[in-house]
């Protein structure tokens, strides 16, 4: 097995979780109702925990300590998709992003729970159990708000239209794609994408929202190879602000 291909996959998974976890945590004190402050914080904590487990796998493969990997790299060294780095915006955007991202994520980790790379399969089995609740949360809100007032429907529809190209970027393939499929590590992006479209369509059909035709959209690619929006580096600078005061210190 090619370790570089495996590491590439792990970095993509871990960086997505870390950055979206960080973004979700920004909802503290700003949620539309207190219960959503709390829910976004729970999901942020889960995602951060997921990224830590994945960085730990990378560490076992010879990469630096999780804290070093997470807190000292610069934007071009990150493999996350651009979707997760976008600022939290208003609640409609954050909700749509959460819905689109976690529907992809649960499929990814379900598939990875059968990975031939056993340490990853073990982590995936644990993570998918937590992601189930993220999906329940997203579906509940999308169904409820997506069939309520015109104002809510319009907001969610606009956010869905805006976010979908970024969400399609989740399925960007890297040079390692064929190799990790051949090695039985992962089923590959195409399969996840097909099932993702089926699942989100099923939920959106129960609302007044319409899913734009993905075939007519240009996916926002680049994140997997270190091309990022202008939002990532400031996020990383903020994240590392205290850590960098003295990276060798115990905090």
């Amino acid at each position: 097995m090619n370790t570089e291909a495996l590491k590439d996959l792990l970095y993509r998974l871990a960086d997505d979780q870390l950055i979206l976890g960080h973004r979700n945590s920004e909802w503290n004190g700003l949620g539309p109702i207190l219960e959503e402050d709390i829910a976004f914080s729970s999901m942020a904590q889960d995602k951060l925990g997921h990224s830590l487990q994945l960085y730990t796998l990378l560490h076992q493969l010879g990469e630096a300590e999780p804290d070093t990997v997470a807190f000292t790299r610069n934007a071009p060294q990150f493999h996350c998709t651009q979707l997760v780095e976008l600022p939290i915006g208003e609640y409609d955007f954050s909700l749509i992003r959460h819905f689109l991202f976690d529907h992809a994520e649960i499929l990814r980790f379900e598939a990875l729970s059968h990975s031939h790379y056993e340490p990853l399969a073990q982590v995936a089995r644990k993570l998918k159990g937590e992601l189930k609740y993220h999906i329940l949360h997203a579906n509940t809100w999308i169904k409820q708000l997506g069939s309520s007032t015109e104002e809510a429907i319009e907001r969610l529809q606009n956010s869905l239209n805006y976010t979908l190209p970024y969400a399609l970027g989740l399925f960007e393939k890297t040079a390692a794609e064929d190799e990790i499929i051949a090695a039985g590590i992962f089923v590959g992006e195409d399969e996840i994408k097909t099932r993702w479209q089926e699942n989100i369509t099923k939920i959106l059909r129960q609302t007044a929202l319409e899913l734009p035709d993905a075939a007519t959209l240009t996916p926002v690619y680049g994140g997997r190879t270190g091309e990022h929006t202008e939002h990532l580096q400031p996020l990383l600078d903020e994240m590392a602000e205290v850590f960098r005061v003295d990276p060798t210190a115990e905090w």
């Binding site: 960080h22 945590s25 920004e26 503290n28 004190g29 700003l30 949620g31 539309p32 109702i33 207190l34 219960e35 959503e36 402050d37 709390i38 914080s41 729970s42 942020a44 904590q45 951060l48 925990g49 830590l52 999780p66 804290d67 997470a70 807190f71 208003e90 609640y91 329940l136 949360h137 579906n139 509940t140 169904k143 409820q144 708000l145 069939s147 309520s148 007032t149 104002e151 809510a152 907001r155 996020l235 903020e238 994240m239 602000e241 205290v242 850590f243 005061v245 003295d246 210190a249 115990e250 905090w251």
Partner: protein, 329 residues
């Protein structure tokens, strides 16, 4: 997190309205409290008791959500995975406390919406310490340790009060706060025993936070307005000075143990066991509580923005067209 901000006390001049209450019901009510029974939402209670409790629980709830802001700003900057996750969980707990407390206050007849609207328009207060900024990571650690410690002193006393829903909420809250205190202490220990930069950070943060900490329990009993009836009704369970003394007794030795100094030359424990200290500047305290502190405007602006930005969500939830979705279906 919460301290006594003195604003629960009834001004000595205020009409209590007790002369309008049914004397037999009032006597029964007071006898129940004297026997140590809890008052429940549907039980008879004097209007003044209801009013004071709403005010007190509401202020406590506001203190939790406003209190989540100074530490919340450090979630995105917490150094390392361990601290980042713990900081998130800690701040999340505070918001959870607010949720619990608004529910307890709602049992007395005021809705969460009314309470939040009173917070935003300045009609109701929150703990004054949160009008000060958390300038560094170390400030956030000092809050987690010592402000939460102060809150526990206060809330453990109030958990023995007479209103059932508030007492039950406080028991749960105190259990979580004790954990925050351990978290805060651990973080402070790391800084106090760390590099010279870390030690300087924590000493400076303690110096900044000591004056607000000393006012956390409210003005000296000497200055405090008449609270006899609130004590008899077990709304207020311990005097401000009593809580402050208890706090000093428990935490000053722990601060000294870490090699940190307390920025008060007069601070010492007398032979009779009473702590002596420089009297806080109560005029400044009043000025800050009335809106002129370093962060009052900012704290309320954040809350106001959250309420305004989220208004469409609440309208949508109340829409008759909205399908009720069972979350776990």
């Amino acid at each position: 997190m919460y301290g006594s901000a003195s604003t629960h006390d009834i001004p000595a001049s205020a009409a209590t309205g007790l002369e309008n209450e049914d004397p037999i019901l009032l006597a029964e009510f007071e006898a129940r409290i004297a026997r140590g029974e809890k008052i429940e939402p549907r039980d008879w209670m004097p209007a003044l008791y209801r009013k004071q409790l709403i005010r007190m629980i509401e202020q406590h709830a506001h203190s939790e959500i406003i209190g989540s802001l100074p530490e919340g700003t450090w979630i995105t900057r917490a150094p390392g995975f361990r601290r980042k996750m713990a900081q998130m969980a800690k701040v999340q707990d505070e918001v959870g406390h607010a949720q619990l407390l608004y529910s307890a206050a709602e049992t007395l007849g005021k809705t969460r919406e009314q309470m939040l609207s009173d917070l935003i328009n300045g009609k109701s207060k929150y703990s004054n310490v949160f009008n000060y900024p958390a300038l560094t990571w170390a400030d956030s650690n000092v809050i987690s340790w010592l402000i939460d410690a102060g809150a526990i002193v206060n809330q453990m006393a109030n958990a023995k009060g007479s209103y059932g829903p508030y007492c039950r909420a406080l028991e749960r809250i105190c259990a979580e706060e004790s954990f925050h205190l351990k978290y805060g202490h651990d973080a402070v220990v790391h800084l106090a025993t760390g590099t010279p930069t870390q030690r300087r950070m924590i000493q400076e943060a303690l110096n900044r936070w000591w004056p607000p900490i000393m006012t956390f329990f409210g003005p000296s009993d000497k200055m405090s307005v008449h609270t006899e009836i609130l004590m008899r009704w077990k709304v207020k369970m311990a005097s401000n000075d009593h809580c402050r003394q208890q706090f000093l007794d428990m935490y000053v030795p722990k601060i000294w143990e870490l090699g940190l100094t307390v920025p008060d030359a007069k601070l010492r424990k007398n032979e009779d066991g009473v702590w002596e200290f420089t009297e806080p500047d109560w005029e400044d305290f009043k000025r800050v509580i009335n809106g002129d502190g370093p962060c009052n405007a900012e704290r309320l602006a954040v809350r106001r923005a959250a309420e305004e930005n989220g208004a469409w969500v609440r309208r949508a939830l109340l829409s008759p067209k909205a399908k009720y979705v069972k979350p776990l279906a």
